[in-house]
Amino acid sequence: MLFHSATFLVSVAVLVAAYWLAPWHRARLVLLFAASLVFYGWRHWPSVFLLLGSIAFNYALGRVLEKRRSRGLLAFGVALNLSFLLYFKYARFLVEQLIHLGALLGVSLEVPKPDAWMPLGISFFTFQVVAYLVDVYRREIPAERSVLVFAVFKSFFAQLVAGPIVRGSEFLPQLRERRAFEAERLHRGAWLILCGLFLKVGVADVIGEYVDFAWSAPDTLGFNNAWLVAYAYAAQLLADFWGYSTMAVGLGHCFGLVLPVNFDNPYASASLREFWRRWHITLSGWLRDYLYISLGGNRGVSKARAAFNRLATMALGGLWHGAGWNFILWGTLHGVWMDLELATEKARAKWPRWLGVLVTFHVVVLLWLPFRAPSMARLGQFVTQLFTGQFDVAMPTQTIVMTVGFLALQKPLFSLVRYERLETLKPWAEVTLAALMAWALLAYGSAKSDFIYYVF
């Protein structure tokens, strides 16, 4: 079920009413869990069994890990969770690479390509539960006693399929506690859902129509339109994922739950390291705490080792986004640029901030190209057009206006999507903005749909 479908929005309204009318905390949790299972199984019900199995296994393992702090047990749990991710998401890619390698070596491999379905959000909930197991092992949180609380933690529909990746330390205590109804929280939730809907349907999908069209035949683009598509995709991706995350945070508020914020004006970053502190914040935090630090981080290791750790973290972060060389290339290039930034830190310190922002923004925009490219061949065609294409007289006016407008208005937009202090927005301003967003959704909203990060 998609967040921006009418069925979902009306179902949530009914669920919110039932949730707050339920007199017992346990009943509320049962409602949330049942709704999450319906949400998850809506398009593909067999996935529910995978989710239920994962809940049962990780709940039990968490309890055992708490009693017996065994590194081997943790490794087993992490490996088992990752093996599902590996099978569902990467098996086909790995087999294809094996066949390619065989062909290069002159060996014809007759390996059947796995044809598993891809359970929605498997990358997100795998990372979430791995973090939980590691936290329990590190004694940073106690293992959850209540299976119901743990089930809701693992399956809460607002964050199940595309994050934010919620940590046990911040979410489990909220689920254990019975919350009192606060109209202010519900109000904030409704506002964030509307903002997210506008970003997704009114901005990302509208820009995405031309981006998709352009990427279907990049060799026909003029250089001006190729550059436009590069900027447009940067805008589309942010609006899409920020829109989704904002709706997720809003949905959390509707049930009295606080989900972490995932974006903080990332294109205003003066370095890639800063960018990753502002873009997909919960994934960056996960990669830092559970991968980079586990690899050795940058403390007490040689500079070369620290650089390798950064590169490996970013390359694996890239691979997490999808099974393809383009994602590995994208992540690796981010790692390379971060190492370059560190190597030139002294020189860069003399730059004015705007120059750092300008350079970083363009690095990010160009590095989105492998991320978006449907194949390496198309990526090559696109980059060729960027630098050697002819000038194309016909340019899509709507895409230009939307892209420039959205990128230029980042600061005010981020201040309008208020996660914490909605009461500081004057009521008349709120109503006017809400009416404008509803009108824009109506008049310009795209018919095309699907969140980009759903496939990850």
């Binding site: 079920m1 069925t7 109209a183 109000h187 709120e430 809400a434 109506l442 008049a443 095309k448 699907d450």
Partner: protein
């Protein structure tokens, strides 16, 4: 009531109230909003608002840019030509035009495009898992005509109010805005008067391809619908610059136009192969303001010369 509850109610009322009010408005003013939301319906609504006219021109952006009804010298006319026109547009127009005295039907390549005519806002491509969304799209008038609320379509409201004073050619012209501030001049030293002569297309049935029956049958249906209302129909083809002429005046294209003329039995005024100066055009296929005046004059003369 707490401030949070009050503001939540205010927010819900603003959004749901706006959508509800617009849905009611769309149901009360269904025709007007449908006309604002789509260029084809809009031109038809303008024509119906204008009332009785001496002739109506149907066609693509080539005719829309190239034809000034007042300059034809045939009495008060109306241009119902639209950009992004297709064979489906022509057939829709032909069946919804109402009784007319004379209809000029463009006979050129854009007009026989196979593109379907999407009159309503396109619904989401995939309703999987969204039965309520599907139901809403099937029952809401607002969702069908929602494009009518786009900023760029709002001036059409004024158009509908002033339809009696308009001839339809005021809308959708390429570079109209630019030429309002910087009127295009006739090309200096141009001497192509002799080229502005129509010539009927050359028939050669052997050159007709597999797509030809679709085009010919579409024209036959459209012209039959027009003739049923008592209209006299003339096929007209606007001129083109060299770049486009080499394609549109190629033997297979000529053969197709000739086949349409033969099957419909309608008189034709065809400028496709007229070797006019390229400088009359803004982009090779759309006439500039002076080009429009020149073509309208030549077309008017040719039409008046018809038996």
């Amino acid at each position: 009531m707490s401030s949070g509850a009050r503001r939540l109610l205010l927010l819900s009322a603003a959004v749901l109230g706006l959508l509800g009010a617009l849905e009611v408005l769309c149901r009360v003013e269904a025709e007007g909003l449908a006309a604002i939301s789509h260029r084809v319906r809009f031109k038809l609504a303008l024509l119906h608002g204008k009332g009785d006219v001496a002739f109506v021109a149907l066609g693509s952006s080539r005719s829309n840019d190239g034809l000034a009804p007042a300059a034809l010298g045939l009495g008060e006319g109306f241009s119902a030509a639209t950009p992004s026109s297709s064979l489906a547009t022509l057939e829709y127009m032909a069946t919804h035009l109402g009784a007319q005295k004379l209809v000029l039907v463009e006979l050129s390549r854009p007009q026989w495009d196979p593109q379907p005519l999407e009159l309503d806002a396109v619904p989401p491509t995939d309703f999987t898992g969204d039965p309520l969304g599907e139901w809403l799209h099937a029952h809401s008038v607002l969702l069908r005509v929602r494009r009518g609320f786009a900023l760029e379509n709002l001036p059409r409201v004024a158009g509908l109010l002033l339809s009696k004073q308009l001839d339809g050619s005021e809308w959708f012209r390429s570079r109209q805005l630019v030429e309002m501030f910087r009127p295009a001049q006739p090309p200096p030293g141009v001497a192509d008067d002799a080229a502005w002569a129509p010539a009927p297309p050359t028939a050669d049935p052997a050159l007709l391809d597999a797509d030809s029956p679709r085009v010919v049958d579409g024209y036959v249906r459209a012209l039959e619908a027009l003739k049923k209302t008592g209209a006299r129909v003339v096929l007209v083809a606007p001129p083109l610059a060299m770049l486009w002429r080499v394609e549109d005046c190629a033997p297979p294209m000529n053969a197709l136009r000739a086949e349409v003329v033969r099957r419909t039995g309608a008189p034709v005024v065809d400028f496709t192969c007229a070797a006019v100066d390229d400088r009359w055009f803004v982009d090779g296929q759309h006439l500039s303001s002076p080009g429009r005046a020149r073509y309208s004059k030549a077309l008017g003369e040719a039409l008046r010369a018809l038996p």
